[in-house]
């Protein structure tokens, strides 16, 4: 069931990428695809304290004026950690559980965004942006022969900074960093969890402006 859900998201992403980066949109839209490395922070670091090397982002920005774009973004970041440690259980009668644990977080950010660019036309340009929307979070906690899974939508924001550097008439190098912050969520172990992580992306954008 879970797999079919995230496969739908992937197919949607692929469809959006093919549709939005087509010839008809290229004059008004900037489409980008980035490979992302992510670093867990806050509660995410407590859940999976490993750097994620599995991630990508798709971005579609409509040129509003030479310094501003507005659009939306999709992504997928996978955090995973195998750890053998003791977890304290905050139950009526206090407890603890020890064993080999596989902890996985699949985060699918789906957000609207606005970006402001600094610099001139075809030069390299820095930009600042704000993404707002949410994250479809798939969390899995396995210990022993038991697996706890949880999928939920979590609202959140992701401030962003980056730069673009023209490589040819139609393509641009894009490097950006985002701080992903989900406002609220529930841990598969119970209790609240606010997922947070840094993402650094590098890729290409297709623009005509």
């Amino acid at each position: 069931m879970m797999k079919s859900k995230y496969k739908k998201i992937i197919l949607l992403s692929a469809f959006m990428f093919l549709a939005m980066s087509g010839q008809g949109f290229s004059q008004d839209w900037i489409s980008s695809i980035t490979y992302q490395i992510s670093f867990p922070a806050g509660d995410t670091k407590s859940f999976t304290d490993e750097t994620s090397y599995s991630g990508f982002g798709l971005d579609f920005r409509k040129v509003v004026d030479p310094y501003t774009t507005a659009g939306f973004s999709l992504g997928w970041n996978v955090f995973n950690q195998r750890v053998n440690k003791t977890v304290e259980l905050q139950t009526k009668n206090p407890g603890a559980i020890t064993g080999l644990q596989d902890r996985t977080l699949n985060s699918f950010p789906i957000m609207l965004n606005v970006h402001r660019y600094f610099g001139r036309g075809h030069d390299s340009r820095f930009f600042l942006g704000l993404n707002a929307g949410g994250y479809y979070m798939l969390q899995r906690f396995s210990i022993g022969i038991r697996t706890l899974e949880d999928d939920q939508w979590q609202w959140g924001i992701a401030p962003e900074v980056g730069f673009i550097a023209p490589l040819s008439r139609s393509s641009t190098l894009i490097v950006s960093g985002k701080y992903n912050y989900a406002f609220s969520g529930e841990s598969p172990l119970g209790g609240d969890i606010n997922h947070q992580y840094w993402s650094i992306g590098i890729g290409f954008a297709w623009s005509q402006y």
Binding site: S4, K7, S54, F56, V78, I97, T104, I145, L167, G203
Partner: protein
């Protein structure tokens, strides 16, 4: 169609798209990326203690000289006396380390410790989608699989005989549960020792009376 689509971009962009697609495919296959685990990796030690218990007043214990085996329909005979002794020895060693002394008469002991064991057979099943990794698997199309596995559980229960003596069930002061997959090949004695040691290690409050 896709090759036509990307051919309009410069060579380095085409290369990036191809590398990205390759990496994306790898990521698809690894949403839950973990290596297989052995039977002993499934060992889990869980402990709970009564929040109102004062272990600083508990300094002696009594323990039956056998492990109680529980089957699906009630008590069963042990088929592993050597392992039973291993469990009892491991408990004794850890109780001694935490400062408890053995009391032969349960009525005179501050706590009574009981060891229990059970073996369970689990039947599970799943659905392996067709064409996974090739293209989107149509819902409902899959290879059904079924499998069984056996797990072993050891329970250590600590009760206060004063509270349990009036015919009413008493809340346990401390419970440790150790569960793991049985595969017949791993060394159960060492797994039992490790599990019992871990149960006491994560329950250091038991030594409050030391």
């Amino acid at each position: 169609m896709i090759s036509t689509y990307i051919s309009k971009y410069p060579k380095f962009v085409q290369l990036f798209i191809i590398l990205f697609a390759a990496g994306f495919s790898l990521q698809l296959a690894s949403c839950y990326p973990n290596d297989p685990i052995s039977a002993s990796d499934t060992d889990v030690v869980t402990t709970f203690h009564n929040a109102a218990a004062d272990f600083s007043t508990k300094m002696s214990y009594a323990m039956p000289d056998s492990v109680f085996h529980i089957g699906e329909d009630g008590p069963v005979d042990s088929n592993s006396p050597a392992l039973d002794q291993q469990i009892l020895s491991a408990i004794e060693a850890n109780m001694a380390q935490y400062g408890y002394t053995v009391e032969a008469n349960p009525d005179q002991a501050d706590v009574v410790v009981v060891a229990m064991a059970a073996r369970s057979t689990w039947v599970s099943g799943g659905c392996i989608p067709w064409y996974w990794g090739y293209y989107y698997s149509y819902p409902g199309y899959c290879y059904p699989v079924a499998y069984t596995y056996e797990t072993g559980t050891v329970l250590i229960i600590m009760v206060d005989p004063d509270l349990a003596g009036n015919g009413n069930p008493a809340d346990a002061l401390w419970i440790a549960g150790m569960n793991g997959l049985l595969d017949g090949s791993s060394n159960p004695a060492s797994r039992i020792d490790r599990a019992v040691d871990q149960a006491f290690k994560q329950s250091s409050y038991l030594a409050d009376g030391k």
